[in-house]
Assembly symmetry: D2
Homo-oligomer: 375 residues x 4
């Protein structure tokens, strides 16, 4: 209820702070019999890890995951899976002034108003570091969904600041520091980041994430619609300020004759819906887009106040991502996988006996990510 647990049936409880001894999570509800080892989880953590290029924070964390429970002889037992990640580069600096000052754009002020007391070291609980356990949990969900339903998840950056990144080739995503599906644009992105860093400023980003080979029928009317739960998951990622499904804000100026995806025996003729109708998956690709705000920790001086309400100035030096959106791609994939996983279990709880004579038209003819693009 205090918000550290995500999901209803595949429940992930997150704990830890940026500069405490460890962060981690407990997954309750994972189906038994899934082959699982650290090696299934570590690759996604490595994609999110700090310090992997000059464009992200230089904090040096191995982010090595330990499976503390829930696995016996290489298989999940159905009991809670505790995943532990030790913090190794906390840099125990003096944080007294951080405790007194509220950094603009950060949660310092709101945590203080809420709790009357907070851990200021590296943002404490509000740090984006707490997304690491979700990436780990997401890797477990991804594995089960891939093995059980063939579902895969692919995310990429579609805009860095004002630079739009046209989708060209999913194979490129893993080959550059920006998760850009486009090799040609990378030099421009690098130049943009170098200029920002020099200016002591930061910028926003747009991320897209898709789920392919989705089972039809997932999502619960009225309130836990699949898209509503996706919106909850995405807006809950640090720094996200907007979420779209399918045509998103483009629907405002669409006509009904254009937006409503026609059905054919071979599948849907288009995917403006982004894979969800009435809150329930159609079997088409889920299509999700996020807006991520610019990093709040910048070198340029900003006005603020302290705990006594007095005027002060904040300049943030040290290691920070000049665009927090860069490392958001594996996080968005993980959160989407967690939502789909939860709904797969919710769906079969109630509807496990539903059978259809006619197969689903999933594998729709348009609007899907090409197979070559799937993660």
């Amino acid at each position: 209820m205090s918000g550290s647990t995500f999901g209803e049936l595949f429940r992930v409880t997150n704990f830890g702070e940026s500069h405490g001894p460890a962060i981690g999570c407990v997954i309750d509800g994972c189906p038994p019999g899934l082959a699982l080892a650290e090696a299934d989880i570590q690759p996604d953590l490595d994609r999110r890890r700090p310090g992997t290029s000059r464009h992200v924070t230089q904090r040096n964390e191995a982010d090595a995951v330990e499976v503390v429970s829930g696995v016996f002889e290489g298989l999940t037992t159905g009991t809670p899976i505790c995943l532990l990640i030790r913090n190794t580069d906390q840099r125990s600096k003096d944080y007294a002034n951080l405790l007194d000052t509220f950094r603009p754009g950060h949660a310092d002020y709101t945590y203080w108003r809420k709790y009357g007391h907070r851990d200021p070291r590296g943002g404490g609980r509000s740090s984006a570091r707490l997304t690491a356990p979700m990436v780990a949990a997401g890797a477990v969900a991804k594995k089960w969904l891939r093995e059980r339903h063939g579902t895969t998840f692919t995310g990429w950056m579609s805009a860095l600041g004002e630079i739009a990144i046209p989708f060209e080739d999913a194979a490129q995503i893993a080959l550059n520091a920006f998760f850009a599906p486009n090799a040609g644009i990378v030099p421009q992105l690098e130049a943009h980041m170098d200029a920002l860093r020099k200016a002591g400023d930061s910028c926003g980003a747009r991320i897209e994430v898709r789920a392919s080979r989705m089972p039809a029928g997932l999502g619960e009317p009225l309130f836990d619609k699949l898209d509503a739960d996706i919106a909850h998951a995405m807006m809950g990622i640090n720094a996200v300020k907007g979420v779209e499904i399918g045509s998103g804000f483009g629907t405002v100026s669409e006509r009904g004759s254009e937006h409503g995806d026609e059905l054919t025996p071979e599948g849907f003729a288009s995917n403006h819906a982004g894979g969800v109708l009435g809150g329930i998956s159609t079997g088409q690709d889920l299509v999700v887009s996020l807006a991520i705000k610019p990093t709040s920790s910048i070198r340029l001086p900003r006005r603020s106040i302290d705990r006594a309400g007095q005027v002060t100035t904040v300049e943030t030096h040290g290691r920070h991502d000049p665009c927090v959106g860069i490392r958001a791609t594996p996080i968005a994939e993980a959160m989407l996988a967690l939502v789909v996983m939860d709904h797969a279990l919710r769906h079969r709880a109630q509807n496990g006996d539903v059978v259809h004579a006619v197969p689903a038209i999933a594998g729709s003819v348009a609007g899907s990510l090409p197979d070559s693009a799937r993660g």
Copy 2:
């Protein structure tokens, strides 16, 4: 778990179908001692009611609410409040062909895949009619929040199709059929709707909704952030495809030096955050924007398939909103009120003992709706 309950502590359970005998909801968790009568609820229902102008569905429903339980001698008792709304204009037509055919853009196909069986009359459970009980529940939340915290909620239409509606005067919102805060643009909106209806087509809309005089400190890290729960609530409204908080997708091209709202002893200097930092309310206005897709029921013929997977064509005649966004404003207000109400209770459960020597800087100097604009 099957998604018909909204909220954690102020819980609203919704029931009914578009063409059944009644729709309604049960509110569990309402604080005791709130003065409550039907008259507190009916005005918001009347704002959402069909048949109030030529631009919305001509279905004729009184939407009269009955308080079945939870109130004794005019005060809430703390026990469940059941609100019942009888359906009176169901028009029991032949729906056999609706049962066989999947209308593009509707939930027909997905309900069928999920449940194997569905109530096709007027969309059954997927009908926007099921938002009426939420508007009723929202009225209860609004009343408590206004009396306890002074918080108020105001929504309006900011775009109808490609026509942007500049905010001019909140007093106008109640005076036209479009919830437009701008009298001058109404003739253009009317002409647009008349043309659409003539063409047998439909269009999308953008809605804005704000909460003013917000308590600071509401929202739960990590996953039930206030903005995450708002996104869940809004994306769960029928036809919503996108949600923004504060600058929303505009943040992609903002700089950190521009986005991060500076703090002053008089309040925040701007409100790009939309009233939420780190998932917790700052005390500034909550600023939320929604994209609503065009109505799927249109007169123009569309390709589809039937339950046997055979090709068919769908044309929808009869009474439908050509822009479902028009009646969405009171719904968005209600859902926002329900989220804030739930978090007000959640907050005091855990943090009821937190005291501050220094008052909050809520009542910020910029980015708030002017007092004249508040609902």
Copy 3:
């Protein structure tokens, strides 16, 4: 969260007060495709109904159930099932003195301390009348479990005050006013009740309830053990003060060599466990026993205080059950069915893919209710 919803996946939300216009419930999560009509529910309601013999309250309620939603053309759709029961015999007497006085053994004092305000008419929300919607919901669960798993539920009275009622013949349960599985003892029970009524006093009872042909594997370690959830359900019934599973308090003086049920290829050799090991069903009969306190409303004068804290005296005249345990049998069956139903769905959500080469040894050789005794 305010306690009016029972269950996690098969969720029943209860509303109403003893003397309001109606009571009822909303079931969310019922599997689709179940044939369901009022006639499936009414018989259990009739078993619980007041006024059926001189040994229970003479309040005259038809307790006729209306299915308001969730059923289309005779089948559940998977959407919420609202069940409504109109109150018809509220007798709107003067209750002013009830509002001021706290009746010993009743919830008057505690509701007042909790909410500061309460509906005193007939006990308001604390009335045993609110078990009627649970009996109705339980009938839906029973039907699904019987059709899907063959599971059946049988309850009876095993003691009335100090009179033990030996189990002789389940066929007798339906044939007397006491739910006694023993025809010979009925005259003694009647004489006991007549004497109590004459004395203006009341007595307690012991109820047993069983589930037969249980699926093995239901129940969730650690905290939502099947027996823990049964205890929660049973202790939540009005007036229940004790719950036992299997040997219950008899285990205190048992030896391990006696208590631990041996396993054989034909099944368990005994059922001291009451059908649950480690919180998970064995496939044997669930064996549950309840202690129900004597009715608190009695004619004999009792000392009490009023809202101002002043000394007063309470005598309760009018229509009351002199032993509330008499009508508790169908309630206990319903609550047990609701727990099993919920866990059947929870189990398949997580473990729907588990297959076993060796069949379960359910259908155990000892400790089961004979087939002739099953409801």
Copy 4:
């Protein structure tokens, strides 16, 4: 949903297995500002610890708790508190035959039917070792309740097998290996245990636990009644088969004129209710009694079957508690504290504004544990 989380607002998520690297829990929802250190938790863990006398298992575990998160500079921050306990004496023996054989009275068979796969080492997840994290979490709840409300918790053994243990002096509880409030009976208990051990058998026990100086008004009608949640908590403790509140099964033969506790301006005249009326606390002592079954692991040979369904025999050698009830006292206290803590937060969420002109009559004149007896 898979049952590893306890509580709604003060939520404890438990993880680990008997013979894995570590066990622990995550507490979400603890109020901020509570002074907390390992030293506040360790004493209760030490009371539950194995190896402290010859009458309990000789497994040697330090059960040293580590606070991994949620505390900054000695105060809780309001964010999740992760408590970790390393397993140090797992004795990695051959468990192949345990994997094949189902021990009578154990969860071996039911885990296998549920999950198809289990960790057999030391009972894996079904081990009573998993109560240690609950004792740790309970210590946090106890501390907050004592500081905020003055509430204290005291448990003791009231019967060992057929030997009743009369309550004489609470000060004795801490001074013997049995948590017996009676020094004179200890030699008899020791002789009983020695004989049992010699015989290779085990016995049951009865435990009582009380909460004193309870706030009035805690508990939620209808389903999350305080006593219902206590029953859930207690029946969820390993080996518990029965739960009573107040008079418990004694109510069956009580009269209404005897059971219903009269109210006086000085407090209730008796406490047959055990501190709960209508599911809500009266302010009197909570009075709870548990039946604990005899240990299932005994040296005497028992019949069983293996995974192929073939007949086999089980004899359990090694280190086991001959009466698991002995170490249950601190566990029962912890679970009771967790229930009260959760309801304290739930209560103020909804009813935080309720004020009373007349003080509660808590501090009742009869039925309370004497001050000298309070923990």
